[in-house]
Every structure is written in C-alpha cells, then in structure tokens.
Amino acid sequence: MFLPILLWTDALVFLLIAVAGAFAFHASRHEHLRAPWRRVLRSPAAMSSAVVLAAFLLVGILDSLHFRPAIAVGTESQMAARLKGGMSAQAWAPEVKSALDVLLERMATRKERTYSAPLATHAFSKETMELPGGGQSREFPRLKFGGAHLTDPADDWSGDILRILLRGVALALVIWCALTAVLLVAVRPNKTLNIGEFADATWKGNTDVPWRAVLVTLGVLLLVAVPAWHLSANYHVLGTDKVGQDVLYLSLKSIRTALVIGTLTTLIMLPFAVLLGMMAGFFRGWVDDLIQYAYTTLNSIPGVLLIAASVLVLQVQMEARPELFPTAAQRADFRLLFLCLILGVTSWTGLCRLLRGETLKLRELDYVQAARAFGVSKWRIMMRHILPNVMHVILISVVMDFSGLVLAEAVLSYVGVGVDPTMISYGTMINAARLEMGREPMVWWSLASAFGFMLLVVLSANLFSDAVRDAFDPRVSVVPRKTRFVLRSQRAGN
C-alpha cells in the first residue's frame, strides 16, 4: 500500500513529457516535420547520445514517481483509537520515496560511518579501537556493509571482485544479445529481408538508421551498469561520502535534480526571452528601448545576490507557514521549483539579446518585406516568418544553458541559497567534496563521480542538439568526407 504524491516539479516534468509526446505525434503525421527528424535518426552521434540521454531520462522519470509508503500502525486497539480520532485507518510514512529509491533500497539504507574509498572493505581513516583484551589500537576499521561478507579481505577481495565482475559482464552480454535480437526483429525494415541479412547489414553499418552505433552504445552502457549493479550488492561501488552514504546512490539521485533544473528553468525563461527578444527586434522604437533597458538593468544586478535575496525571502515565508508542506520532500521540492523560477528570471537576458539581434537582421529580409507588402499582421509575421527562422538559435541556446544551469546550481548550493540542503544534487555533492580536496590522501571519488555524471549528461545533450540543429538547417546537406576520387580510365587500368 502506498499513497502517490505528485510534487510540483513532478507535475511539470510529466507535462513536459506529454508536450514532447504530443509534438512527436504531430510531427509523425506531417511529412515536412518528419523529414528533419529522420535526418537526426541517420546520424550515429545523435543516436548514440540519444541512448545515453534516454538512460538518464529513465532514471529521472523513475525518480519522479513519488509516493509515501504505508507504515504498520500497530495493534487493533491503536487502529480503533485512530479511527475514533477521525484519522484514516492507514498511516503513511512521513518521508516521501520515489520508485528509484525502492530500486536502490540496498544502496540507500546501507550507510557507513564516514568516508570509504570505492570498493573498499575498510574505512578511509584510522580510528581508535578498543581491543577485546583491553587497551587501544589505531587502525582502519572494517566497514559495516562494504565487503562485510569476506572473512579475510586482504586475500579474498580481488578474487571476489573479479568473480562478481565476470558474472556481471556475462549477464550484461546475455541481456545485450536479447535486446539486440528484439531490436533487430522490431526494426527490420521490410519483411522480405531475412533477419540474417539485416543483422549482417547492421554489423557492417549499412543500415539507414545507424543501429550499429545504437547497439554499441547500449552494449557499453550495459557493460558498465550491470557489473556495477552486481557489485553494489556487497560493496560501495563509488565509495561513501562524509556521512557514509553511497556515492553511486547520490549520483543517481542527483540526475533528477540536474534534469529538472536544466529543463524547467529554460522552460520558464523561454517565453520571456523569445517574446521580448523578438518584439524588441521587430517593433524597434520605444518597445525596443524599454526591453533593452529592462534587460540591461537586470543584467547589471549581480545574479547571485538577486537569487540569494529571493531565496532567503522565500525561506522565511516557508518557515512561517509550515502547514503548507506536510513533508520535508514537498518543502525541498517547492524550493527547487522556486530556484528554477528565479534562475529563469535572471537568465533570459542572454537569449533575449541574441534573438533581438537575429530579428533585427531577419526583419529586413525580403520575405518579411513581402509579407508586409501583403498587409500581414505583425504578430503573424513574427510567428510565421521570424520564429521558425530563429528556432535554431533557441535550440542551441537551450542546450548550452542546460550545462550552465546545472553548474549554476552547484555554485548557489555552495553559497547556501541553492537547493534545499536535504535535496541530493550534483551541487551539494561537489560542495561537500570540495572541502576534502585538500586532504592527504585526497578524497577524490565524490567529486569525480559528480564530474563524470555531469560530463556525460552535458556531452550527450550537446552532441544530440548538434545533430538536431544540422538536420533542421535546410542549407546544411553535404556531409564532408575525405575520399580519393579515381577516374574511369584509371579504374579501367587497374
């Protein structure tokens, strides 16, 4: 039994997915919209990064399915008392969990006391221990969970790791083969081509859609994920942090925060930037002056201070009304949403400026003049002639901002005005790890994990958006490639 909880950001994430789905449906029914996406499908880099992005998205969505589990209320008499008191028969746990938490339960619950290195069996620092026979000694204590099943870690450790790894790799290969088979059957273009031929074509990279790239990326992903999953049963794959939490768990939980900040913020800022930028460029005159003054002023206020002020005001307000937030998660979530909002308000100026310049250029073009000669209304010209022609600028800027926003969150969390301290994010991870960089020996794994995961998200998003931009630009059609040409006569001679 559980009580589903829809947090604000969950709702917006699902809305975003629904809109994307609706657009995909719309595009699939219109040939001229489908054609550029088909070009995206043909790009190996785009397809590979799409697989990685999809994996991240899956984690993010799983982490967005929130609920409160039921807790045992106790004896029947207690239950009767509750009923009498007007309360429901079922009681719900105070903490909100997500589907991902359930999947990663073993990582979440097995907490060590403090730092431990990746795959370690002993703690990272020496502790003073009471010897059974009295007296004390300073040594590295065994971890409570990491490698706890080993009787003699010094001898058994490497063998155990190797065994688990091999098992993981074998399983990964099995899963990969199964997925490959399913994929090949599902996407086989026409039924006349037999499956062997299609597999052969895929292997040689001769298919229309680069399935080979997809399968290779999927394979690499599985080869990393499945052994890691197996290892996580007995070890902390990426070590533990200061309070003994599993770093892999933290990294996976941070994905949702990063995706939410990266997407919702741009979603909030887009209407401002697009509308105001296009208006400034198209109407010129006093509208332009007003919008320019607005964003110049906003730009000259130090962003961090503005955000800090807003967040602090919000914090005070939230503390004054605790009844609005039944759980800590809901409070943290509201703060995240507010952070997206305020980041959106402060970050629209860059795109707005870009779009103003682009619109200034476009409005002088002949086709806009021709539309004006038809007496087409200004809004219609903006929607039909300007907007589609600045779409690539928006697309690129959104993806570039994505990484910038994920980083901005880290900075803000450091100042203490970012996400709620209880919220797991790359920002809080980096912030916590930052202090340990000066330690000797260095605690590197928290920072490295956050770095690696963020790099992967941003890089795949960048590669994907590059392909999308190229596909949507009608002028780019030639793919440069270096081959030596051979003349007919020379060919005949050979």
């Binding site: 073009l365 002949d366 021709a370 000669a373 038809f374 040409f485 003349l487």
Partner: protein
Amino acid sequence: MSEVLLSVKDLRAWIDAGAEPLRAVDGIDFDIRRGETFAVVGESGSGKSMTALSILRLLPEAAQIVSGSVMLDGRELMGLPESEMRDVRGKRIAMIFQEPGTSLNPVMTVGAQIREVLARHLHITGTDAARRVVQLLEAVGLPSPAHRAAEYPFQLSGGMKQRVMIAMALAAEPDLLIADEPTTALDVTIQAQVLDLLQDLQRQRGMAILLITHDLGIVSDMAHRVAVMYAGRLMEVADRARFFGAPGHPYSRKLFESLPGAARRGGELAVIPGQVPALTEDFRRCRFVDRCGAAMPVCREGEPAMTELAAGHSVRCVRASDLATTDGAAIGHRSAAELGHEPPLVALLKVSGLKVHFPIRKGVLRRTVGQVKAVDGIALNIPAGRTLALVGESGCGKTTAGKAIIQLIDPTGGRVELDGIALNELRGETLRRSRRDYQIVFQDPYASLNPRMRVGDILAEGQLALGDSRDPAVVAGRSAELLRQVGMAEESLGRYPHEFSGGQRQRIAIARALAVRPKLLVCDEPTSALDVSVQAQILNLLKKLQRELNLSYLFITHNISVVEYIAHEVAVMYLGRIVERGTVAEVLGAPAHPYTRALIAAVPRIDAAGARPVVRLEGELPSPVNPPEGCHFHPRCPQVRNECRSKYPEAVALSETRTVHCWLHGV
C-alpha cells in the same frame, strides 16, 4: 607575343558531395599566350572559378584535383611542393577576386598589405617598399597615393578597394593575372574605369590576363580570345572576332540570343530549355544535348571531341561544321515585331514630389543632426499595362523609391496616387486592403522566400491576408493556378524553396506577388542575380504576364539592355532625383543629360565594339547626406558650367514625353 605562357591540359577538379563526386571542372584544355587576355565565360556553377583556383592550387577543403597538368612557362605546377607553389602564387600568377570588400584585411592599412607582398616575393622592405607602394597605387590611378597608403580599407569606396587589389596583384609583377569577375560587385561607371585600368596596365606591362566573367559585354570589350564553359567543360574556344561574328556551338548561339536588347523588343527572348545537368553524372554524351535545339542521336553516343573549325577556333560539337555553314544569321537579327495595339494611356500610378529622408541621430538624446536624402522629390507616371524603368547606380535611391511607392517605407513628403487613391494618406485597415493592388518582386530570389515555409504556404500567405477567400480548397486551387501561370508544376506546392534553382525561385516570388491580383508590380532588379539564360526566361514571363493581365511594372534596374528590351519609358536617377525621363527610344537613343550619356557609354556591349563614344566619368557617387551644391552631378560632369555649381536645374521639357534636369538644355 604568341609564346604560350600557361598551358592547361585535361584539368579535373572534383568536389566531395556524398555518394557521387561533383565534377565541377571535368577535363579542360587551353593555352594562354603572353600578353593576351583570355576570357572564360559561363553561367554560375559552370566551374569557372574552380578552374582559376585549380590553377593556383587553392581549392577548398572538400575539392581536389583529380587529374591534369598546368604548365607555366614549361614548368609543371601540379607536382610542385607547396613551398615552391607559394613562390608561384603572387609572383608569377596573381589573382583578384570578385568582392573587393572582403578581399582586403580590414585591420591593416592598404600600404601595409601591399608591402607584405613586396617583402614576400621581391624582398623589398623599408623606404624602398614605401616608395614602391606609392608608385603602384599611382599606377592604378588612386588619387593622392601617399595619403591613401596609410588608410584602412573601410575608408575607401568599392572601386578604390578594387584598385588597391589590383595594385597588390601587380606588386610582384606577375606574368599572369587571374581576374575572377573583377567588376561584378561594382557599378557600371566604376566598372568601366576598372576595365580601362586593366587594359592600360596590360598594354604597359605585357602581362597575360585570365578573365573570368559571365558578362558577354565585358568579354567583347576586353578579350583577345574567348572560351565558353558549360557544366565543367569548355564548349568553344575562339578569337574574339570569330566568336562574336560566327559562334560555333549551339550553346554559345543560345547565349547570344537570350541577351535582351533593343533589337529584340516585341519579340520573345530565346530561352535554353531545361537546366544544367547534375554535375555528379559521369558524362558519356554531349552534356548540352538535353537542352540543344540541334541535337541528333549521335550526340548521345559519346562526348564529342573538340573540332577545329578554323585556325584558333575549336568547338566541342559534332555538328559544328554543318551548323556553321547553314546559318550565319542566327544571332541578333530576329525582326523586331511591332507592338500590338497601343493601350489607352491613362496613368495608373502618379507619383509627385516623393521624398524619403532618413534622419541621422547622434548622441545620448538621439537628436537629429542631418538627413540622408535617399529620395528627394521624384515624379513619375505609369499608365496601365506599361513598364517604366527606373535606372541608376547603386545608392541612388531607386530601391527606396520603389519601397516608398508601395508604402513599405513611409514617405517624408509627396504624393503617391494609384487609380486615383492617394496611398500615402491611407492608414490602418484601408491601407491594408489597398495593398492587394500593388505588390513587389525582389532582387535576390534566395532571400525573398522564407526557407522554413513550403511553396504552398508562401503562395497562400497573401491570399489569406488579402484575398477573396480563406477557404483552404479555394486557396490551394488558386496557388496551383498561379504556379501554372508562371510555368511551374503543381507538385511544387509541397516543397521547400531550397529545392529550387534561382530562376524557379524567382518564378515563385512572382507567383506570390500575383496571388492578390495586383495592378502594379514593383520589380526591384528581379533578374540581376540570375544568369543570362534564366534572365531571358524571367523577362519573357514578365512580358507575357503584362500582356495577359494588363499589369503595370515599375522596373528598377541598372541593366540598360534589360531596359531596352522590356520598358516603354525610362527614368534615370542620380542621387535621389530623376535627371532625365522619357520613352526608351528617346532617352537611350539620344541621351540628353550628361549622366545618362556616361551611363550608357559605360555599359560594355557586344555589338558596336570600339565604335561607341567614350565618356568616362571620374570619381564616384557622392554621399546623399551631403549632396553637392547646385546640380548634384556637377563635380563629375564633363560639360560643367558656372550655373551648374550654384543652382539645381529645373525640369526642361524636350518633347511631350520627355523632361531633363540640366543647364545645357536651359530655357
């Protein structure tokens, strides 16, 4: 003089473009002798520029030279190591480009850029170099050269920049100068100056010139020998006299026939049907066969070899010799059929005192400190079904005038009357409704269609805004009808503009303008971005539409031969004002204003080569911010008098249809 300087054999340069290579240059052979001008003519995309770049081995990344040899003075250039090739470039072979604006480094002074060449190739530095720079700038006719050498490119006008480019090219005294469309970006009067300069320099220094151009007029003026290039191959090589007297290849003949001009008024221009074949094809037939009127089955059986018709005249055509004997009169003698009945001459458009001034604002408070008088009081009338050509050099305000007439720019003063309604007084919804009566066709067919809209949507836009019906079926039907009207297939409705060639795009742009059934069409240089054969198609189309729909055209152009072909009346603009106006025969036959005379004389022509009067204008168009006192033209006028300097001349009527603003025709 007849010693061969550069010899090109079987040169092929291909571009990597997906599955099949693009055979941009596909096996060409020619020789250039010392001191001669060898012109390569061809339409855009025929591989002219690629040929020049191949000779210098300066091809873009995606292209490569597949085979061939280029011998300079008996030395093979293709096998030379890059370091030695750098000594050839600039020192033995120099090149000047089409766009002087982008060929000079904007952050280096002109002198420094020339000194770089001197130091690299002749090892001249210091004061010697400075002296050489001044000499060179003097040689290319730049006024006050010592002063100019210290200036930056942005301080020079287009014509002056091209002179600097020529000075740079000449710095190391090359044996061969490659001029790739050297005057295409310049106005006719400036073009005439630059071409004269090139000829003078060639006479003095005896260097050879490889002239690449699309303009047969320039070829006729400049060239000793001519090569015609088509789809990567040379189709004909001949002496100038021979080429213009008796062109051998059907393609060359068609090119001549598609040239507009006075002789073809009333008739249709010859068009070359179809399009240039895709260069990805590995041709095993004559590459012109699909468009050739004289094609025979044998033409498809293999690519014809060069046939020598006479000494120094060879043609790549199997029928060259029998075609040459059958008709010598193929070019230029189509009888000028008389115009049909004269339509009644009620003025449809009446413009009087039209002014467009742009304020120049400065400072924090954006105060107006001056006016750019782009259009400064022009008057013109166009009767229904007639064409008025507005002629002038760039910057004279002709496009601004056109846009002000159709109310895309608010006029500062004056009156624009269409069918008795004063357009400049209309506002809001009435102005919007009136827009169906006047439309515009732009110069650049690549910028005038929204790349993100399908042709169907482009054609529907005007109908939805102003048309009779918004019913999708009616709109779609009308769009299809429009496409048929401009000679295009209905299937084009679902396609995007980038799938069409320049000529097809211009047809779409014309169809878009016609969608609301206008009475007046402003054509803003509709053919200047197109090749000659495509231009002929568009001009034919415009004439046909005028006949069928009784359209009036305001035809804005700088091309005199187009005016001769299409216009009934002509108005010549200089610095925001009309200096002369009248029928085409009057104005172009016997120009009264010195500017008109100079303008007409500056146009290179293929017919009366050498016989035309030489009126060369000095200097360039003054700025419209601060026009000269008195007659605007007096600083450049060869017949300037005292009164010209003090007072702008009033209009003088020379005949019923003709007025001129000039003191020479004083009262």
